[in-house]
Point group: C2
Chain length 469, copies 2
């Protein structure tokens, strides 16, 4: 497929232009991180014979093959010439890391325009400048100039993220790694001199490993094209997006960050997103929270939520978040049938509550969770389950991870897990997350995720009805 970007994400060979021997330089960090990947690597540096055990080449034209990707780790001043050499060598993808272009004002914009002109009409597509580039954990392909020791990378997963901010992207993948969430790919679009968010959205729509697309947007390269494209993509894959600069102060801050002028009003953005089926979220945290639910569960078809837990107080907090329209997320508490309640009563102690929120109290144990989840999974009036695990009760062990995973796999009702606390609860959440169960450290976040799943379900229903009409 021409222009499919496939080789940018799955290169057979990579050149690092500006490869360096100095460990703190980007040209060294990038090279170090590429080693171990499943592609050939060529450092380009006219002043070195070899680097990190790899033979150096004086220029891209001197390389023994036409590489799929050239990563330019040279100064802003040297970038234009480096791009021109890549165009001449017909290298299909160039990633330009250096900052100092449109984000720096008039002068930088002029140079950036010349870079854009250099690739226009050529066989070369450019990502950047002013970008971290691309990260594909499954292929150990990673152009981010941050040492892994300082910035641990996530494992492979089914979420891909397109970001107009490198730091926000780094924050998100570090969080993902920390929580055991896998990412399929990370893309920093930088200043978008050539390739922009729309190109990557199109690519990810067809990339089989991506089940949910997350976007952090400061400005649109082409808002109308985004709308048309997103509308099509979101029919197949959920798109979650942060659009910042919602206030005039924020828009000014965005302008001084990437030189992007936010021309669209915030209400317009919200309207367009809604119509295109793009789920708008407030920040990087909400993006990850929503994306992991959508990637793993996909959708929830109704708004009736059952809470299962062992702590009355958290049940009340969650209930408010579920039921409140103004301060919460405007869902409904499932009303458990008499039949379900009768069967629950057989499984739980007399002082437990079999009303929703189901409160198993401090005598709860792994087996009780198993039996209660089984019953609530088969209850008629329930669309999704919020499981609130607490590990203070002495009967609770890490064995509950297997119980939850089993039901998350074979159960018909979507289930998200909340677990509040410190190091130990966090380790449990991580284990569940690694098994594909969306987990949250607060009730608010768990209910927020359910709302996102419900919105996705409603959207899919709507376009299905429209299609049938």
């Amino acid at each position: 497929v021409p222009g499919s970007l496939e080789r940018l994400f799955n290169p057979r060979s990579v050149a690092v232009v500006g490869a360096s021997s100095q460990p703190e330089k980007a040209g060294n960090v990038i090279l170090r991180q590429l080693i171990g990947g499943t592609f050939r690597i060529y450092p380009v540096n006219p002043n070195r014979h070899d680097l990190l055990g790899l033979l150096c080449y004086p220029s891209v034209s001197a390389l023994p093959e036409r590489v799929d990707v050239a990563i330019l780790s040279v100064t802003a001043a040297a970038t234009l010439q480096a791009v021109e050499e890549c165009v001449q060598a017909k290298i299909p993808y160039v990633i330009s890391v250096a900052g100092g272009f449109s984000e720096m004002g008039e002068e930088g914009s002029v140079v950036q325009k010349r870079i854009a002109e250099a690739v226009q009409g050529s066989e070369t597509r450019l990502l950047g400048p002013n970008t971290m580039g691309v990260m594909v954990p499954a292929r150990k392909f990673d152009t981010f100039f941050l040492p892994r020791e300082r910035s641990p990378r996530p494992k492979d997963g089914s979420i891909s993220i397109i970001s107009q901010s490198g730091s926000v992207l780094v924050g998100m993948y570090e969080m993902a790694e920390d929580h055991g969430v896998g990412l399929r790919s990370c893309i920093g679009v930088g200043n978008k001199a050539d390739l922009n968010e729309n190109d990557f959205l199109e690519y990810l729509a067809h990339e089989h490993g991506t089940k949910c697309i997350g976007m952090y947007i400061e400005s649109f390269a082409d808002g109308a094209a985004f709308f048309d494209l997103a509308k099509e993509v979101s029919k197949k894959k959920p798109i979650v997006a942060v659009k910042v600069g919602t206030t005039s102060s924020g828009a000014r801050a965005a302008a001084s960050h990437t030189g992007a002028i936010a021309t669209s009003s915030d209400a317009l953005v919200s309207g367009v997103f809604k119509q295109a089926g793009v789920l708008r979220v407030a920040d990087d945290f909400e993006l990850l929270d929503a994306a992991k639910a959508l990637a793993h569960i996909g959708q929830v078809n109704g708004d009736r939520i059952a809470i299962v837990g062992s702590a009355g107080g958290f049940g009340v907090i969650a209930t408010d978040y579920i039921a409140s329209k103004s301060k919460g997320f405007g869902l409904r508490m499932a009303s458990l049938g008499e039949d379900t309640k009768a069967r629950l009563r057989e499984k739980v102690p007399p002082f437990a509550s079999v009303e929703n929120p189901v409160d198993l109290t401090g005598v709860v144990n792994d087996q009780m969770y198993h039996e209660v989840i089984e019953l609530v999974q088969s209850a008629e009036n329930v669309d999704a389950i919020l499981l609130n695990l607490l590990f203070q009760p002495p009967g609770m062990t890490v064995g509950v991870v297997d119980v939850v995973e089993r039901w998350a796999r074979k159960g018909k009702k979507p289930m998200v897990v909340c677990c509040v606390g410190g190091t130990f609860p966090r380790s449990i959440l991580r284990r569940l997350e690694e098994k594909g169960v969306p987990t949250y450290g607060t009730m608010r976040r768990a209910v927020f995720a359910l709302r996102c799943l419900y919105d996705r379900g409603q959207y899919l229903r709507r376009i299905k009805e429209e299609g049938a009409a």
Copy 2:
């Protein structure tokens, strides 16, 4: 001071009625956890000669002294008699741990009423039943029946929390411990047969170590008394409160949890809180986030916030949260004077931004933070600083902890710190927190804390003006 509750929080001697040799029993866990405290401990169990190296007593009347506190770890059925024995022995404070009373319906309510009557008019005050009791880290006094191995305790600090839910309280102290936040005391009020939230609010108002009072409330024991009391207390110490059951579903859930009937409308609660100077927050997380800012910083006198960081994207996210009234927290971005900007330009590289948000870019290092914070600290148009630390830039080291701490101590402008990411950023936040700097893992939470500090400042100004008028 009669009724000051001082000895409940600082007992010279404690009895554990129902002390047990079985490690999983509450009567064993509590006893184990008391050992190591600075008070005398007496296990009461008629069937044992000794327990955990301590001599056992057959009943409270057989104790060698009148203890300050008796902790009743006996069944619901045995509780009334145990309370009566404590009343007879004139023990000033009794903590009744067992559940199975008003939260269980009619029958339990009857017994609970008899317990309340047993202490009425006596020299004994009762906390509970259905409570975890009290935790005072500074005195290693802790009646919570959760082993420390499973549920690590926080260090001493200046926040005290009154909670109507044991689990929510446990969640909060575990979070506090995990984040390096100290707590002065934790109180689970349980079913409030005798002592209630108002008694503890009054005590904490005069407790010198408590600088901020947090409350989790499902229902008011006496709403009018709470209003009058809170109004007085909040003049001296900030009160942050969660009042759940804001929806009818939530109110029903609360009723089935502690048997409490929420008679007050949610809007009424908000109005009363506002008038009384009580800062209403949504959940346990917001409570801790607000409380640590209020305990350490106290107040912010204006709404002009300066952001200092090294990542443009996070600067934009923070700006939106600061400036947006509908989606954010309705503060203002400080406008830095030309003088300040000129001086900043001397300290930072040419491609850094000296507009607010100040963006030091990836070349930032500890020393640059020191110099820039110094300048922003002395800027005229700034009321508070939001510092966004990121550790990807190679020049950043843990040394920045000392820089930030120094300015947090000697600087005139209040400062909160945000740091997004995984294990390493979390460890930095913890170190800062331990030094008394309020830290947050997301921009939203950091700006929320600033808004709480601003609201507190506005409240104090208002009552000062009212006092002068």
